[in-house]
Every structure is written in structure tokens, then in C-alpha cells.
Amino acid sequence: MRNIGVFVCWCGLNISRTVDIKRVVEETSSHPQVICSTDYKYLCSEPGQKLIKEIVKEKGLEGYVIAACSPGMHETTFRELASRCEINPYLCEMANIREQCSWVHEDREEATGKAIKLVNMAIEKVLHNEPLYPESFPLNKRAMVIGAGVAGMQAALDIADAGYEVLLVEKRPFIGGHMTQLSETFPTLDCAQCILTPKTAEVARHPRITLMPYSEVEEVKGYVGNFEAVIRRKATFVDWNKCTGCAICIEKCPKKIYPEFECGLKEGKSIDMAFPQAVPYKVFINKESCIFLNQGKCGVCAKLCPEEAIDFQQQDQLVKEKIGAIIVATGYDLIDKSELAEFGYGKYKDVIDGMQFERINSSSGPFSGVIRRPSDGKIPKEIVFIQCAGSRDREKGKPYCSKICCMYTAKQARLYKHKVPDGQVYVFYMDIRAGGKGYEEFIYRSVEESGMLYLRGQVSRVFEEDGKLIVWGMDTLSGKKIEINADMVVLASAIVPSNGVKELANILKITTDEHGFIQEAHPKLKPIECMTRGVYLAGCGHAPKDIAESVAQGSATASKVFSLFSRNSVLAEPTVSIVNKDECSGCLSCETVCPYQAIEKENYRGKVIAKVNSALCQGCGSCTVACRSGAIDLRGYTNQQIMAELEALLWK
């Protein structure tokens, strides 16, 4: 039997307003094993902790209950305090009388009764607790970054600069992400390629970065410090060790296609390089369109390649890699065309999205940087920009703001005016959201200086008539319906998570939110951590964000990796499942329910039984429920402990 103490916190008025603290102290002090029960205004404060420490010493306590806030808030504080008082931290329990009691109840009498019960339960828990000691595991100081956009590249560079090996996996055949497609960037109007290529070049030549372009992660096993990933290296049908990027093959390839990079606006070839500054500077064959791969003849590229680099026999390769930490930087796509039917998007060639405008404005784009419209190449004189195309629209299931559209629309409108000074710009907007350094000033200069018409309201329909695009909209400030005969319409289409993120999230055992963006561990305090330890999150895969924020997040995840890699081993929570070897019947029902693949097999006295890999086990307790013979227990939450708590709740 143990001597324990109870400490009840007021949390200022947070708890004391609805819970009668004095009564809680009185009622709990009558418990035979509680040799001391007391209260304090703020237990988490320094004097509060000092008080606990003194009482522990004075009364010789062997464990204690803190009746205060949620363990999510301060369990660590009070468990560390226990260590300093020379008590095993797992002999400290929190009774949550704030979030689950005082905050949610109004009746003082009832709330006090509930608080007493909660504390009584925690007392029984402490009495049945065993001292627990965390296990330590070795740590592989090598990181994997998934996605080589600007966020992923930044993370990779920071980690590699700090002296660790990095594996950078990218699904496209080149690195740089969507930023490679942009013409200029807000709010400084510097050329996207000019500020990006130093980074892509640095990534390519960095001795500690292993680049895996045109590759996708297929499987991830293991746990923090010791992950094992299977990566599919997709066949490019070109031996990149031989390819010099001379581009003879591109010139002679007879098959024309519209590559994704140019958003369907510029012709490319079946064997191609995405753009002139591509890193790696290598060609690849588009499997779907290549004549040789589909019909078995042609092979012009193979005949002409001076390096004999073309290899039609090339197969996808599965590569196994060991890493200790993972950064997910999967980026974004734009909303599907079919969801913007009211704007004629996908139906009329001159209704384009923001990314297509970037390509049109780009010097390597379809019109070498001259603003022309896709249908007939004419210079548009009346241009309509529509913001929030799909965003902030509950009907389309995207109630969120895509965050960057106000800024890039203003940027595109200004770049258009630079190139077509006699053109007229109309911008339909819902609100202008320009939160960022220099953003508000940028928008105002656009609105005031360039003679653009900013119209507050939404567009109901866009259609073609007499060679013009008729835009029907509403100006809600004047209350008037507006009809514009435009030459081109640019949609600031909603940002959505990039294709395949859901599958990747399943592989990594991390969660996605209702819109498919990856869920962070805490919206404020752990914005770049995933729920799975050792997995971090950067860039637009988390939520829409601009370049500066993506870069900052990339660096932030790198610093998380540093603090992980600064240790020589990882400590695992000791609250894991344990199998009673004699009672286990070997049915392995636990194996099917375990979400972490932590159940292994073991030979024991001539039979096969279950064994828990304590490094993989996250302590969810699924196996303890599934076990038919009751042979599995969760340390710190044993059946016996839970029964004791229930008894305290129901019969005391």
C-alpha cells in the first residue's frame, strides 16, 4: 500500500467558479491511503510546484493525484516534477476537472460531485500504478523528404547543411515543384525561376542529398528513428547516367503531346524535358504517348541518341531505404475543371486558370511571354479575373480560403498591364485578403496606380457569344448587375491537396482533414508535426500557403529533425502492450486489429504466440480488447487499473 497525496488546482476562476474546491479537498482526504489533500490557486506555477515538492518530502508521499486541467496540457509538467521529487513519473495521475468538468457544467453542486468522483478514480489509479521505465532505441540519422517543391527542397537543404544525409523523393521527373511553372512572384515581382534555380542547383550538387526524381513512396514500415521505406523509381526509358541533355531526341521525336507542365497550352514531345532549366537536366519518355512503347515501331530517339541512352526495356524499380525521420511536403493541385462549369472552364479555350496565365506570361511558355489568348493567339484587350473560383464555396465543398489568390491575381493583373498598357482589367473579388509583409501595399498599388477595376461581387456565368466571352456578375457595392464582353477570363481556382495524398497518408499512418489536407498534431502548438512521431509536415499539403510560408515551414521541419537527430537514441513511452505468454492461445486476433503492425510471432513452449514490438506499439489498446483470452494488457492502463477506477466511480 502506498501513501499518496491529492492536489486540487483552482486554475484561478476556471475551476473554482463551478467546483467547490474546499469540498473536493475534504471528501478526498477521507480516503484511507490519502495522507494529504490540499489545494492551490495555480498548481502549475513555480510556487505551486514548490508546494507540491515540499509536501511530498514532508509527508513522504509515494505518488500523487493532480486534479486540474487536461493531461494534454500539463501531464508532462507534473510527471517531470514527480521525477524531481524522486517518484516514478508514472505514479502521478491527472484528474481532469477543468475541460471535462468545470468548463462544461453550470450547476455547482453537480459539478462538485463529478469532480470528487473524478479525483476518486484517479486515486484508485495511482494506487494500482506500477513504476514504468521508458525503453530506448537506436536512431538512424538520415531523413526522407517527400516532395521536392520549394518547401521540401528547403527542408532537404537545411538538414543536409547540418551534416545529415537526406533522401529527396519527387513524383515528377524534375525538382522545384509548382514554383518552376510561375512567371513572377508577389509582392516583389522577381522572376520565379531566377530565385528558384539557385536552390534547385544547390540541391542537385549537394553531397549529402540523394535525389530521387520520378519516384513515389509505396510503403513505409517502422517507427521514429527506424523507418523503412519502399520507393518506386518509375521508368523514364532513358539511362540518366548516359543522357547529356543534348535534346537531339526531342527535336526528332515525331509524337507531339501537350505536357502537364505547360497546362495544355504548348506542344511538347513524347520524349522531352519539362523546361529549359530542369533539374536533373535529363530527358524522359512519356509512356502513354510513345509510339514505340505502344506500337513497337519508331524508336527514332534510340537511333539518334549519340550516347545510346534510350532504353525501352527499362522497368520500374523498387528500392528499399532506411531513414529516421520523414518530412511530407506534397504540395497542391488546382480544383477540377468540371467543378467550375458555370465559368465555362474546360469548355471555352479562353477561360483559363491562374497557373495557365503563369505559363502564358512566362518567357519559356507558349507565347514566349507575350500575353496572348489560347484560342486564336490574339492579345486580349479586355480581361476579367475571377477570384475565389471554387474557394470559400460551401456548395462546392470548399469552404476554405485558398489564401494566395488575392495576391497572385493582383500580381497577374499588374503584369498584364505592364505588357498590354491599353488593356482593361476587371477583377471580381469577395474580400481582399492581403495579410503578409508588404502585401496590402502591393494590392493598393495595383488598385490605385494601374487603373484596374476591382468589382466586389461574384460572377454567375461566363459564356461565348459573337467571339467574346460574356461575363455576368454582380457589383455588390453599387448593387448593379454587370455584363462584360471579355477577350479572356482568368480564374483564381481553388487550391486542393495534390493527387495521391490520401494514399500517401495511409502509407505513413497520418491523418487528413475533411478536404484531404494533411492534419497537423495541434493547430497552434504543433503545426508542423504529424500525429505519428517522427513525421513532419511542410508546405501546401497542409493547407494553402504562399512561397515564403512554405519555405519557413520547410526550415521549421528541418529544425524538428535536428532536435530528433541530436540524440543518440529515441526514448519510447513505456505505456505499451504486453502479452502474458502462458495465457496467450496464439489466435493472433491482435495482429489483425493492430494499426501499427506491432504484433510479431514468437515460439514459446512449443506453440506460436503473439509478441508486442514495443518500439512500434503506440499504446492504443486495440489488442487488449480483441484478445479472447485476456492475455494482453496495456502498461499503465491494465484491466485491473481500469476496473479499480470503475469501482471508484460506481460504488464509492
Binding site: S338, A341, E342, R461, E465
Partner: protein
């Protein structure tokens, strides 16, 4: 229906027979109320559509409507009963009967799609309408609110186009197809109707549309009456006839003009249809 809209009635009954769709008149049916109430507490207006839905349930059959307005009122009432327990209870208490929202409400176009299919319909066409430049006019009541009606894409519907294609028409892309005709404002604000109709008809004329096809008696009335006024005032010179989809279907199935009762129309479609013979 029996007095005012024989054109709609006879063309539907005859085409349904031809397509082997069994239609049966709902015994003791009521007017649906014509407008779905905008005030959420206006449950009295929902009693008559609820009685119709109950009637169909008692017969153990699906409830088929021809008119877009009836479709909208019945389907939305059904949606409310199915999804709002509080209002369901109030309606049930008032009617002293239990109705749970289990009747399936279908538009006749949906029945053709479901029970006949576009390919099958194509094979049944006797008089092909090839060369007839037709455009659908969905109006507003068939499609929105999408969550409740689940009829077709609210901004880019295609069911009418599929239907017209099966009949062999030359379909014209008509961006005004989901615009409002002015609806009940015809009673109080004739000008609004005229300006709405003017836009629609000008759009149709520009695209060389010969007939507009609708499923809504109110659209048909407004488009015809509006055009007559606009002809008088000289705003338009060439009127565009408006037909119910069932009339066009009857012609394509070779059932003749008699079942179409074109004499009910304010704009005679016969001159346009003449050459199809």
C-alpha cells in the same frame, strides 16, 4: 391539366404508352401548391404536397411529375420530411397520419432515362428530328437547390441534351438554358418578364435556335407571352416557338400532331416543324 394543359397531358400519356411506361393517375390528387415556401415555418403550405406523397405511398408506387414546379415542390417537401425530424412530426401530427418521406419522386425525363434509356429511345424514333436546331431550356426549378433535388449538375446539366440527341435533333449549346424566365413576377411585374425573355430569345436567335424545349408550364407561358409583347413593341422580329419535351417526343415517335394540341400555344410551332415531314 385536363382543361388548361391538354398539350402536356395528351403528349405525355401517348408517349408513355408508346414507350411502355405505365402511368396511372394518382387518385384524389391535390395541387402541389406551385411554390415551395421560403419561410421555414410555413408548414401549412406543405400539407398538400405531403398528401400527394402519402397518396403515392398508399398506392405503393413512385410519384412521377411532368412539371418542373411540381417536381421541385414535391421533392423538396419529401427531402424535408426525410431529414427534419421535428418538422416531420409536426406534419404527421397535423395530418394524423404517419409519413416518413419514403416515396420516390421522379421527373418524367428521369423515368425515360431510367426505364427506357437513351439508346433504346433512339431506336424507337420513327420520325427523326435531324436538322431541327433545338436547345433545352431547363429554367431554374428543375436543378436547384442541387442538394435537395439531385437531378443533374446544377450549372452544367446534360439530361435534356441527351434526350434531344436521342431524338436526332441538332443540339445547340445554349448558355441561357438555366437562366430564370421571371417566374411568378409575371403577375405583378410584367416588365421583368419581358427583359428576362428578351435576353433569352436574343441569345436563341443569335445561335439560330428554331425551338426551345422545356418541361415547365410556367417557363413555357412566360417565354410565349413575353415574346408576344416583345413582338408588339418591336424588340424582336422572329419569335422562337417553345415546346414541352413530351410534344417533341410525340412527334419523334410518330404519334402525330393531334396529341400535341398546338392550338393551345401562343406561338405556333407548326411552321418550323412543317419541313420535318
Amino acid at each position: 391539366m385536363h382543361n388548361q394543359s391538354q398539350s402536356f397531358r395528351d403528349s405525355t400519356i401517348s408517349t408513355a404508352r408508346e414507350l411502355e411506361i405505365e402511368l396511372e393517375e394518382l387518385p384524389d390528387w391535390y395541387c402541389c401548391g406551385a411554390v415551395y415556401p421560403l419561410r421555414s415555418e410555413d408548414l401549412i403550405s406543405l400539407l398538400s404536397p405531403t398528401r400527394n406523397l402519402m397518396g403515392a405511398k398508399k398506392e405503393g408506387k413512385e410519384l412521377v411529375t411532368l412539371c418542373s414546379a411540381c417536381y421541385q415542390v414535391l421533392k423538396r417537401t419529401n427531402y424535408l420530411i426525410l431529414n427534419d425530424a421535428d418538422k416531420r412530426e409536426k406534419l404527421n401530427n397535423y395530418l394524423e397520419e404517419k409519413y416518413d418521406g419514403s416515396t420516390k419522386v421522379l421527373h418524367f425525363l428521369e423515368v425515360i432515362r431510367k426505364d427506357v434509356g437513351w439508346e433504346e429511345l433512339k431506336s424507337k424514333v420513327k420520325t427523326s428530328l435531324t436538322g431541327l436546331k433545338a436547345a433545352p431550356y431547363y429554367g431554374c426549378l428543375l436543378l436547384r437547390p442541387q442538394k435537395e433535388l439531385v437531378f443533374d449538375h446544377p450549372e452544367n446539366p446534360t439530361i435534356f441534351e441527351n434526350f434531344l440527341q436521342s431524338l436526332g435533333c441538332d443540339i445547340v449549346d445554349f448558355p441561357y438554358k438555366t437562366e430564370c424566365c421571371g417566374a411568378y413576377l409575371g403577375i405583378t411585374e410584367e416588365k421583368v418578364i419581358n427583359s428576362a425573355v428578351l435576353k433569352i430569345i436574343q441569345g436563341a436567335n443569335k445561335r439560330g435556335i428554331e425551338v426551345l424545349i422545356t418541361s415547365c408550364p410556367l417557363c413555357l407561358y412566360n417565354l410565349e407571352a413575353g415574346q408576344k409583347e416583345l413582338m408588339k413593341s418591336g424588340h424582336i422580329s422572329k419569335p422562337v416557338p417553345v415546346l414541352y419535351f413530351t410534344q417533341l417526343l410525340a412527334l419523334a415517335l410518330g404519334l402525330g400532331v393531334d396529341v400535341c394540341h398546338f392550338e393551345e400555344h401562343q406561338i405556333n410551332p407548326l411552321p418550323v416543324l412543317e419541313r420535318l415531314k
